[in-house]
Symmetry: C2
């Protein structure tokens, strides 16, 4: 179900790293490594809370019944996972196409007033619900957005009507959002204490919006369990080990940037999710592989030139789907002015496959090592397994790199400065000192 | 109208590079540098063909009148520029929101059958037109897509009806698409010979889809003329020089990746356009700054950790808009559970500005040099100037780097392999040799 080809990497170097991978593997399973308090995701697929899953499905059904739009209010891990899965499985045109589930718009992930104005106009004549997602309830972006949306929904449906349309995914007992949900009477779902934001897609954080989009979350979780089993087995056959080792070998050879390349246009946000997962897990202590992404074949006519002939400090990881979902063929053309009749009758999928094979060789020949992660199909089961695989490989890879893959101390720096510059009580002096340093 | 702050870079090093910038500047203006045959974009805004512009506006009006959907069929430079401008000026929800102009979907930029199936279903019950954009008419992706769409539109409207709904943007005299347009009787627009794809957004390549989206292309071109004047003046005050020099100084100091950071959620494709422009212009001969992009504040909760504390071989270029378009304020909340009442009454735009200022200092303190490109407003005039600025700076920067910024020899490699693997007549032997090297 997940195959990882690392033939671009020296077998000897891979073997040499196996003992350290075993250490990392054991540290993940025994929670003995750095960040061991945030390993709840490791066996999460195996211990799904059936009652909560049933409530998630019931909420999704209620939203489908009473709402044309679901606004999902969250940032970072409370945003990217759900969006990645919804687009990967329901397509990047999800909100445009006809369907029997609500449009889903993501809010609270920026401070743009233009964006907020667009959202307000999109729900102006539509019934909507809100899923607000925040562990603390005090993160600026979602909290500000939720203030605005709470006003709107209470104005539209009254206090009583509104409380049946707001779903809060938050801490089990503490924090501003938990407290507000209690006071207002919102239905709530729990963000586990031992699962960090970027590893939370298979918790209610991701599952409620995903279910609301009409995706089978049982199948997604079943796939994740299969992924979990694949990654539990120590040894060179473990796909997560293979990927984690290969990228660390490549880093040791001076390949500083990883380009995640997919041929599926609806995988753009899956790549964004990958960038958060790996960037935030590994980018610390002056270390890390810089995570970038391209979408082929579009970007073969954009970043393709750089990949083929630019600075040789990059490697490429192709995320490949063996069996695409549609079957469209190239039509015959009597005039053949474009010279493509040699392709007539051929499925697009076959041409795409040859584009991948040709690109794999071209980039490899251009001294860009190519790893390949291949799944059978872009369906719930394979995607569930893939999400788990990426998470597990990230844990191994971060330990191989020698960092704590489960913290994100650097995210606080901009927040502190921003609060100070905004004159938050207690930050006044600091704010003045910062402002004095700025030309803007 | 465009301010470029490069205070993060040593003034001495900037001064030292001025003579080489002047050489590059003169080479661009006198067409004496490498790739001098592809400098038609340099004075393009000053020599707009009024008759062609009038035809573009008339075509846009006709499309608005008879079509609910415009399918824009192109790849690379025949795709990214138009999409970048449409999203930047009409928002990322353009296709979802109510408007008096057609939906615009981009096709022919991939080989995905799933994507094509979605497009076919999106136009199933809608009137549509096609703008097919290709210099040669033989590039695989748009040519294959156009074969499929041509069948569809002829089936829907008949041969006669279809020819009034297809607009071909192509070479003035030669190539498969020019020939087909002549034979079929399509209205045509010209891709100038001396303007490469990635520099073509202000030619009919970009202008027709942009006009069809209801954007004022006269104002866009007027802005581009202002940008042209700003960039024509030699010296340290030239914004394009400043940006080009700063990024080359940073590269010389080991900063190998540039992260284009914007606070505007509708600038995502503007960043994609930048990635093609710079990546394809500079990524050759083993050289180039790796172009990446983030969208803040969303990605402060994703790539933010890496930028703050990861490997220190990156720099950041912020693309900032001084005056945002909407005015939404943070509401007061009686309970203040989220602790944000200190922001009550404040415009979101002010908070966003402080997020930028705080992030600028945080990342700078984290040893990530920050350049800042600032425009007044996200409107036609400023965007036109900005597009020209990026193009001109790219020309200077490529010459400073010592490459030909106007070719893309590496893009052929994957195509040759793909054709061989697909069994294109004449490539059979090569195809067998390539296939023998593959495990896939």
């Amino acid at each position: 179900m997940i195959k990882v080809n690392i033939s671009a990497v020296s077998g000897q170097k891979v073997s040499a790293m196996l003992p350290r991978a075993l250490e990392a593997h054991n540290a993940l399973r025994n929670k003995t490594g750095r960040g061991g308090d945030f390993l709840g995701w490791v066996d999460l697929p195996a211990k799904a809370d059936e009652a909560e899953l049933a409530r998630i499905k019931a909420a999704a059904l209620k939203i489908k019944t009473d709402s044309q739009v679901l606004l999902v209010c969250g940032i970072g891990g409370s945003y990217l996972g759900a969006r990645a899965v919804i687009e990967a499985l329901r397509g990047s045109f999800y909100n445009i196409k006809k369907k029997d589930t609500p449009d889903i718009f993501f809010v609270g992930n920026n401070l743009s007033s233009g964006y907020m104005a667009e959202i307000l106009s999109l729900v102006e004549h539509k019934d909507f619900s809100i899923n607000v997602i925040s562990k603390s309830g005090t993160t600026t972006e979602p909290a500000v957005a939720f203030r605005i949306l709470k006003n709107l929904i209470e104005h539209r449906y009254g206090k009583e009507g509104a409380k049946k349309r707001v779903y809060a995914t938050t801490d089990i007992s503490k924090g501003a959002l938990r407290q507000m949900a209690g006071a207002e009477g919102y239905e709530t779902f729990v963000i586990p204490d031992d699962v960090g934001g970027r590893y939370s897609v298979l918790t209610p954080v991701g599952l409620l919006p995903i279910a609301a989009a009409g995706i089978d979350i049982d199948a997604l979780l079943a796939g994740a369990r299969e992924g979990m089993e694949l990654c539990a087995e120590p040894g060179e056959g473990n796909p997560a080990w293979r990927y984690a080792i290969a990228r660390n070998v490549l880093l040791s050879e001076g390949k500083r940037t990883e380009i995640m390349a997919s041929y599926n246009p609806s995988f753009v946000f899956l790549a964004e999710w990958y960038k958060q997962l790996y960037g935030e897990s590994e980018g610390k202590e002056g270390k890390g592989i810089f995570p970038a992404a391209v979408n082929f074949t579009a970007d073969l006519h954009s970043m393709g030139q750089y990949i083929q002939e630019g600075a040789r400090d990059i490697f490429e990881t192709v995320l490949l789907v063996s069996r695409p979902d549609a079957n469209i063929k190239v039509p015959e053309d009597a005039d053949d002015l474009d010279g493509l009749n040699f392709l007539a009758g051929k499925p697009l999928a076959d041409i795409e496959r040859e584009a991948f094979r040709g690109t794999y060789l071209a980039h490899s020949d251009g001294h860009v090592p190519n790893l390949v992660i291949e799944i059978d199909k872009a369906d719930e089961r394979n995607l569930g397994a893939l999400l788990y695989f990426y998470e597990y490989a990230c844990g191994i890879s971060g330990y191989l790199l020698g960092v704590n893959p489960f913290d994100q101390p650097g995210v606080e720096s901009y927040k502190k400065n921003m609060f100070a510059l905004l004159g938050k009580p207690g930050y006044e002096e600091q704010g003045k000192a910062l402002a004095a340093r700025l030309d803007f």
